[in-house]
Amino acid sequence: MLEIKNLHARVGEVEILKGLDLTIGSGEVHAIMGPNGAGKSTLSYVLSGREGYEVTSGTVLYQGKNLLDMEPEKRAGEGVFLAFQYPVEIPGVSTMNFLKASVNSVRRYRGQSEFDAMDFLKFVRRQTKVLNIGDDMLKRAVNVGFSGGEKKRAEVLQMAVLEPTLALLDETDSGLDVDALRIVGEGVTALRSPERSMLVITHYQRLLDYIVPDVVHVLADGKIVDTGDKELAIKLEKNGYARYAEAAA
């Protein structure tokens, strides 16, 4: 599904990813944990094609295709979705309109028919209930004045309606209280399927109580430095990342 080999990437003059290898199979959920500044968000941006994140060597194969060759919108069409660590505000554009523009764009790309307004509303409503998102939130401008929890729930809603094949979730748990964490965690878990792979970036293992990963990786200093199962996440929570920092140094 996704095969990353010896990936090096830099932002400006600074190399952030320094030979990262990662393989994710269809339907698998992988968690990536790691200290602040390790390069987790950088990895998510490189995979989604953000400008300014320059790949200097290595390869990324996604469904057998060279992912790095594609424009960001094409990657989205191909099924790559990123739940942003910091979702972006778009003043004046209602969340509903944004969702519709987005879903219809990827549906066009995928050769599916576009939704009209009525069908789309029904389609969205199927997802909003699980995420405890009311119609009033859909009328508000994209992320403008949203609380931390609302922003993250809106990201998961977008993931649900865009039906990705590879979902990258960048700290979707940060800034959430216990209830919001549960809603988001259950929302994501409901979207697990044999055709959908996920890469869950998190700082804390608490999210992984809801989204139970098949594999857990530790990312430190631009590389995967350890890989294990759910137990690894629990150990990390207890012991911290200090020993990886030393290993990297």
């Binding site: 960001p72 778009i90 554009v93 944004f98 987005s102 401008a141």
Partner: protein, 486 residues
């Protein structure tokens, strides 16, 4: 339904002229140039009474003493007023070509991008109850729903017809808001205006449908000088929309219109414009000079006027729809979106003149500049000594796309009454990279993302447009910004 079909048919008739006119149609033109003889020619063509000819000649004599204004932040080579035709009209309505086959494919392409084969048709075909006056070069070629409207006492007709059929109304109000001596371009218009719409809404009547005028410049080397006069009598209400298009040409064509609105006690006029004149090509060649004077006089108590404009076209836009708030408690509003791309220049804004007590005005202006374009908001808020308790709120936002464009805000504030309140807010921003990336990550192409973000930026203005036209205006935003990123 019958009425709707009628509208569509009428417009199809007009459409035939729209494209064929450039090459094969026979038109009736005044000789090139401008002089007293030309003005007499126009007046004779229109079979005007002598008072109107005298008024035109007075305006012309005054114009000769005037200098072209140069205070606006726009630049263009001197206009040769003798190198233009001041009257051009199709000789007959049957001379159009049978097919659209010989239409410039780039124009067709533009309409295709809008999702419609023909601009006016889309707006009209999907919408009920819109009466249309279609002004083609110097004449009105069709006005729809006249009978239906006249049942309510509403007069909606070409101004040249109003001069004949309703001379008292025209004589009373023409030039009463924008006098013939007002400014260089308005004075020129007073001398040579050819057609335009006339509207009278009688006392207490809520006009049963939207009224609209479509202006089309077709003939080359021809200026268009239309004149619109709308009178809302006491307690009446009307919503009026104008749309404008012109073919693509290498030359610059002058469009110097005058619009006068008169609003009496408790009456309400909503005037919306979707201006899409040809803006010139990406190198700045050709395009319309849109030098327009629009003014509303709120003469009555509680009179209300609301100007909404979406300006996407023209090489140069010079226009300041204004409100004279004379009646106590009268209200003036100005909502504006001005988009400039490539080499377009826009200097636009409004004037709010508060004369009466407790008058209020609101200005929401959104300027979007892309390419090498320049956009200026210029606005005057004036509180006169008797404007006790009056207030104004102004919000002016500029959005820049790219590094070579400019946005400027020039507010003039003059308060001669201590109890008057004036608030002004202004912002300048750019489309942020993270906004673009966020949209693209969601599958939205870069151009669609720009259109989406800009439409969001303009939302407060767009939502003032009549619903049927808002959709068209939103599409126009996208089209006019094409090629502005990447």
């Amino acid at each position: 339904m019958v009425a709707v079909t009628e509208t569509v048919d009428q417009v199809e008739l007009v459409e035939k002229y729209k494209y064929g006119f450039v090459t094969d149609i026979e038109s009736d033109q005044a000789p090139k140039g401008l002089n007293e003889g030309i003005i007499r020619f126009i007046s004779a063509k229109k079979e005007e009474p002598s008072w109107l000819l005298d008024w035109r000649l007075k305006a012309y004599a005054h114009w000769l003493t005037m200098k072209e204004p140069n205070w606006a932040k726009v630049g263009y080579p001197p206009i040769d007023y003798q190198d233009s035709y001041y009257y051009s009209a199709p000789k007959s309505m049957d001379d159009g070509p049978d097919s659209l086959g010989d239409v410039d494919p780039e124009i067709l392409d533009t309409y295709k991008k809008l999702g419609i084969p023909l601009h006016e048709q889309e707006v009209l075909a999907g919408v009920k109850n819109v009466a249309v006056d279609a002004v083609f070069d110097s004449v009105s070629v069709a006005t729809t729903f006249k009978e239906a409207l006249s049942k309510e006492g509403v007069i909606f007709c070409p101004i040249s017809e109003a001069v004949k059929e309703h001379p008292d109304l025209v004589k009373q109000y023409l030039g009463s808001v924008v006098p013939y001596s007002d400014n260089y371009f308005a004075t020129l218009n007073s001398a040579v205006f050819t057609d335009g719409s006339f509207v009278y809404i009688p006392k207490g009547v809520n006009c049963p449908m939207e009224l609209s005028t479509y202006f089309r410049i077709n003939a080359s080397n021809t200026g268009q000088f239309e004149r619109t006069l709308i009178i809302a009598d006491a307690g009446s209400k009307v919503s009026y929309l104008e749309g404008c298009t012109a073919p693509m040409r290498d030359e610059n064509q002058l469009h110097a219109a005058v619009v006068e609105l008169v609003i009496l006690d408790d009456a309400d006029i909503k005037y919306s414009t979707v201006q899409n004149w040809y803006p010139g090509d990406e190198n700045g060649v050709g395009g319309i000079y849109n030098f327009v004077t629009k003014r509303a006089a709120c003469r009555g108590r509680n009179a209300k006027v609301s100007w909404t404009q979406v300006e996407t076209g023209s090489a140069i836009t010079w226009k300041y729809p204004s409100c004279i708030l004379q009646g106590d408690h009268s209200v003036g509003e100005f909502y504006s979106v001005a988009i400039t791309n490539n080499h377009q220049q826009a200097d636009t804004g409004t004037k709010m003149i508060h004369l009466g007590k407790n008058t209020s005005s609101k200005i929401i202006a959104k300027g979007i500049s892309a390419g090498k374009s320049q956009s200026t908001y210029r606005g005057l808020v004036k509180m006169m000594p008797k404007a006790e308790g009056s207030r104004n709120y102004t919000q002016c936002d500029s959005l820049l796309i790219g590094k070579e464009c400019g946005a400027h805000t020039v507010p003039y504030i003059e308060s001669r009454n201590k109890s008057a309140k004036i608030e002004h807010e202004a912002t300048t921003s750019k489309i942020a990279d993270d906004q673009l990336f966020y949209c693209r990550q969601r599958g939205i192409s870069e151009e669609d993302a720009v259109a989406l973000i800009v439409n969001g930026f303009c939302r407060d203005v767009m939502q003032e447009l009549p619903m049927e036209f808002a959709v068209e205006a939103q599409k126009l935003v996208g089209i006019s910004l094409e090629g502005s990123v990447g």
